[in-house]
Symmetry: C2
Subunit: 296 residues, 2 copies
């Protein structure tokens, strides 16, 4: 099976897991579970749960305990998009070609659907405690990682600084902070939770965090590069949008050549560190490289 075929198969499995853990009801709060499903099942690369399950497998994990955490992380990623799209934030009406949640369900339900997804993430992850043959201390440690990487010293912290900086020129240090937290933290979370639940030792989890941090940064810089070098046809969204919005990016900060060099450096280091952990896992290595060197 080619990498692309294997990836598609794995994504289909993730979709099935997400659907299974989504709360359902026919009672009078049905509108909120509908809104949650609308936003969670909108497609996408399912990158974070995929990284989580592949890292789990890398360390020998083979139980169902990973599944509630995969769903939980995708719920957290999704809630952040739903709230990001709100009128008081980015005020976006479309995402991935579909109307955003608050446009379909109203602004109040948009806020509540985001809240409900964030809450459901922890409700879902906590289901792991009831699973057969699990070590509750390890599940507890995974909950700690999930919550801290999503919080004010993780994703939300990056989002706050990004929102605060919007419309202003920012320096390289602030840009680095936003990329590390807003994008990097959940990618670190994915791989760290995968390693932790598989029983990896502390220094191995730290090593995984280092890999993930480089992947996250390279992923985000590649985003900036594509905004300059790609075409609207390939990317599926307008290019040169950063320039138009006078947004500081890695490319406007360091220039295109330097940005490309940085992606190369980070991806080489990440792959090199990954090979030290496990020389033979080609799917995870290909996945990391496909993220970093993607063309859209």
């Amino acid at each position: 099976m080619s990498f692309k075929e294997e990836q598609s198969r794995k994504i289909a499995e993730i979709e099935e897991i997400l659907r299974r853990f989504l709360p359902k009801t026919e009672s009078c709060q049905k509108i909120i579970t509908d809104a949650m499903e609308y936003s969670l099942m909108a497609g996408g690369k399912r990158l974070r749960p995929l990284l989580m399950s592949e890292t789990y497998r890398l360390f020998g994990g083979e139980k169902a305990v990973i599944e509630p955490f995969m769903a939980a992380l995708e719920m957290i990623h999704t809630y952040s998009l739903v709230h990001d799209d709100l009128p008081a934030m980015d005020n976006d009406e479309y995402r991935r070609g579909r109307k955003t949640t608050h446009v379909v369900y109203g602004e109040a339900m948009g806020i509540l659907a985001g809240d409900a997804l964030l809450n459901a993430a922890f409700e879902t992850a906590a289901m792991a405690f009831d699973m057969e043959d699990v070590d509750a201390r390890i599940v507890g440690r995974a909950m700690q990682i999930l919550a801290s990487k999503a919080g004010v010293f993780g994703m939300i912290g990056g989002q706050v600084v990004d929102v605060n900086a919007s419309g202003e020129k920012i320096d390289g240090e602030t840009l680095d902070f936003i990329y590390r937290l807003k994008t990097g933290a959940l990618i670190e979370c994915a791989m760290m939770v995968g390693a932790t639940l598989a029983g990896a030792a502390k220094d191995q989890v730290a090593c995984v965090e280092s890999i993930a941090s480089k992947v996250g940064m390279a992923f985000q810089i590649q985003d900036d590069i594509l905004d300059v070098t790609s075409t609207m046809e390939v990317l599926g969204k307008p290019i040169h949008s950063d320039e138009k919005n006078e947004k500081t990016t890695y490319v406007t900060w360091k220039g295109l050549a330097e940005a490309q060099k940085e992606v190369e450096r980070l991806s080489n280091e990440a792959v090199c560190e990954l090979r030290q952990l496990e020389p033979s896992d080609s799917f995870l290595e290909e996945l990391l490289l496909s993220l970093i060197h993607r063309e859209k």
Copy 2:
């Protein structure tokens, strides 16, 4: 020490616990930890953490493991108020005589502060796994209760139906649903987490849930009664506001006399059930009665 003095002392202890678990930073996302502190440290009865710690003690609990959960529950209650006050929801500019969070920090930060408090609640509760001499399975069970009582089958579910019904006449069944979930669920959560962490058996936790559910309902009906029978001086807010807003309440539904009878019935039952658990705990009994029969 009188009941009032003891209550004040306990509330002061809770304030100290909340302050201890609030995330702090001097880094560039400081605005969000400021906004979290602004909303969390705004005073209030601290009813939910107080009920939690008293129920914990009732079942013989005497460790620090209860403290992160007390802080977590108050963070969840507070985030729900912060989001409730947003322009797209109730659009309130004042709460307890202070400007609401989004008025002070802007609407985007109001949304993010609510998100950050909800996330911090689980981050805080998960700290319990690191505490000395804890049973991780019991902490895991407490996390499950916390998350489910705050979610779409708990508080958020009630909030959704309340928001959806605003401006419309609703029937008694819907009113009951809103009261049980929007107010009742977190009170049930408080007492159930307290009992669970103290190692109470399943049937004892179920008994505590039944007591809390009656207390929550009586508390909410008493709110409706005070809106009709109190004065602005005593209540500290305008009376007859439900009538003015054409809001369906227990009093408009069943009449004042019936509402008062229902509070009496629920409180008698709750106290009777509590005495079966522990005949001698007078503070918790007084606390329940003070909530139900309060004059403001």
